[in-house]
Every structure is written in structure tokens, then in C-alpha cells.
């Protein structure tokens, strides 16, 4: 292949340039931690930064994710779905899929509701929920053909409607938060504390669950399981 040495050299320079940079002295971020915890009033400072200090960026992030799931639907709309999909029929795999789906669904609720107290948050919860639904779809594929096209199309439209409503709700809540309207503080470390952060986490969880579910479902429907 015509991998020109110049290209290789450029890649090496770009990748290894940070090594030449002198490191700044390690910053003592005690002040930063104290300021952030006083500002966001939640134990999980990463959630606090994401949904309070940098909320404006997170809004754009959610919009990009929405555009992606819309783009997947739009790009696949011209294709012809598979008429039948080879499902899995190994009983052990099906049991494991269902077990995994149960665990992932419970984990999604935990991550969304307590994301501001412990490791977690809306995006992780959404990925977990999407995984649960995808595993259910895989387990379902072993039991006969998929539902007919018009039924699944209606389901998909309903899913998309709920997803769009979740995005709009997120934008409305984010607007309230950015305007400085806040819920009562609550006691530090309780589930109902931290202003809008738990609500925003839950809405993001729903939105990412449905978005990734839409994408996975379409990929399986148009391309098969394998």
C-alpha cells in the first residue's frame, strides 16, 4: 500500500508532540473541589459539573445524540428491512440474555436515580437501559418471526415520540436551571437534593435508553443479528 513515509512522519509528530511539552506543576485542586461542592451541592462532583456548571455544554451534547438517532432512522428509511432474521435458539443463551436484561434494567434505574450520589448518571443509565432492551430483543428473536412491518413501525414511531418529548422536557428543565430558578436544596446526600440534577439525570436516562434502543432495533431489523 502506498503509505507514504511523510504521512507516517506526520502521524508520529502529531501523536507524540505532547511528550515534548513541559508539564505544569501539579495543581492543588483543593479549592476547586471545595468551590464545586459548595456550588453544586451534590456528592458526585462529576455529575455536578456536567449538569450544573457545564449544563450549557450538556444541552448541546443531548441535542447531538438526538440528531444521531434521527439520522439513523432517516438514513435507514430508504432501505428494505430483512424479511426474516435468524434468531438464537440455544436455551442457555436465551436464559442468560433474559438474566442480563433484568440486571441491566435494574442497574439503569439505580444509575439514573442515584447518579448524583454515587458513580453513575443519566448517560450511563441510558446505555444500561438500552442494553436491557436490546438483550430482550435478542432473546425474543428465538421465538418465531418478528412482528409484521406495520406493527413494529407504529411501535418505533411511539418510541420516537416519547424520546422527543423527553428531549423537550430536558431542554425546558435545563432552561429553568440556567435561568437560576432552583428547587429547594434538600439535605446533602439525599436522593431528593441537588436542585434539578436528579430530574435531569432521569430525563437523560429515558432519552438515551430510547435513543439507543431505536438505533439497535433498526440495526437488527435491517441487518440481522450477526
Amino acid at each position: 500500500m502506498n503509505l507514504r513515509p511523510l504521512h507516517l512522519l506526520a502521524a508520529g509528530v502529531v501523536a507524540l508532540a505532547p511528550l515534548l511539552q513541559a508539564l505544569p506543576a501539579p495543581a492543588a485542586n483543593g479549592d476547586l473541589i471545595a468551590a464545586l461542592s459548595a456550588q453544586t451541592r451534590v456528592p458526585n462532583l462529576v455529575s455536578g459539573v456536567l449538569l450544573y456548571t457545564r449544563l450549557y455544554d450538556t444541552v448541546a451534547e443531548v441535542v447531538v445524540f438526538t440528531l444521531t438517532s434521527m439520522g439513523v432512522v432517516w438514513m435507514l428509511s430508504a432501505e428494505r428491512p430483512q424479511t426474516r432474521i435468524h434468531g438464537l435458539d440455544d436455551p442457555a443463551v436465551l436464559v442468560l440474555c433474559r438474566l442480563g436484561a433484568t440486571v441491566a434494567a435494574l442497574l439503569a434505574v439505580e444509575l439514573a436515580l442515584r447518579g448524583h450520589l454515587s458513580p453513575g448518571g443519566g448517560f450511563a443509565a441510558g446505555v444500561s437501559g438500552g442494553t436491557a432492551l436490546a438483550l430482550l430483543l435478542i432473546a425474543r428473536s428465538g421465538q418465531g418471526p418478528l412482528p409484521p412491518e406495520d406493527v413494529s413501525h407504529r411501535n418505533l414511531e411511539r418510541t420516537e415520540l416519547i424520546e422527543k418529548l423527553a428531549v423537550l422536557l430536558f431542554l425546558a428543565l435545563a432552561f429553568l436551571s440556567l435561568e437560576g430558578l432552583n428547587l429547594p436544596d434538600g439535605s446533602f446526600g439525599a436522593v431528593e437534593s441537588g436542585g434539578w440534577i436528579p430530574l435531569l439525570n432521569a430525563v437523560i436516562g429515558v432519552k438515551v435508553t430510547l435513543g439507543s434502543w431505536t438505533m439497535v432495533q433498526l440495526f437488527i431489523r435491517y441487518r440481522g443479528l450477526l
Binding site: 502529531v14 456528592p43 462532583l45 462529576v46 447531538v64 444521531t68 448518571g121 446533602f188
Partner: protein
């Protein structure tokens, strides 16, 4: 050479591996995967930088928002971690769309060879300007 520099070198080598893969492979699908290697390596660079000031996860223990200033010195920096979360989500979105576009292209040319995809199509099948 400090431990930080050694880890940084390894992460940067992973970036380099992704870039070389991006240049080396002719297959579009493998190019997309090489891009994913690069993006994962860049994310680990962020994680490494966040852990430079301290190794404890920035989640406060106990039920008061007041931080002991001496304990606060050992927390990792939460800002790069939050920035990285954004990068992960955007990277996931970009990957999904790229893989979908690649799949659609594979319907027209299953070899997905970049040089062949760059060739103008035979006249008549899709007349361009």
C-alpha cells in the same frame, strides 16, 4: 522518567497506532475502527491528566458539602472527567453514523476499498454534473 511520563507515552503510542491504522488500511470499515482506537486513546489521556493531581474519585463521602482542605488535595480533578463524558457520547454518536454510512456503502461496493470508492462511477448509472 516519571510514572506519569511513562503512562503518557503508552497512551500516545495508542493514539499513534490508531492514526497509522487510519492511514494504512484501505478498507473503509477498518478505517472507522482505527478512528475509534484513536478516540479511546485520547479519552484515556484525559483520564490520565485528571488523575495527576490525586487518585481518589471526586465523589464526596459523608453527608456534608464541606471538604477538609487537606483531604481535598487527594481528589482527582472532576473537570476533565466531565469533559471526557461529553467526548465519549459524541464519539459514540459519530461511530454509529459512520458505521451506518459504511454499511450503506457496502451495498454498492462490498469491498469498501477507499481508492475504488473514489473512482467516478461508470457513466449512465448515476449521472453527476
Amino acid at each position: 522518567m516519571t510514572a506519569f511520563r511513562a503512562l503518557e507515552l503508552m497512551v500516545l503510542l495508542a493514539v499513534l497506532a490508531g492514526l497509522v491504522g487510519l492511514l494504512w488500511h484501505r478498507n473503509l470499515f477498518l478505517k472507522v475502527l482505527a478512528m475509534d482506537v484513536t478516540s479511546t486513546a485520547v479519552i484515556s489521556l484525559f483520564v490520565l491528566i485528571a488523575a495527576r493531581d490525586g487518585l481518589i474519585t471526586p465523589i464526596l463521602q459523608g453527608d456534608t458539602p464541606v471538604v477538609d482542605p487537606r483531604a481535598a488535595l487527594t481528589y482527582a480533578d472532576p473537570i476533565p472527567q466531565a469533559v471526557t463524558l461529553t467526548a465519549i457520547v459524541i464519539g459514540f454518536s459519530v461511530q454509529a453514523l459512520l458505521l451506518l454510512a459504511t454499511t450503506l456503502l457496502a451495498g454498492r461496493d462490498p469491498s469498501l476499498d477507499v481508492a475504488e470508492l473514489d473512482q467516478p462511477e461508470a457513466a449512465g448509472s448515476r449521472a453527476g454534473p
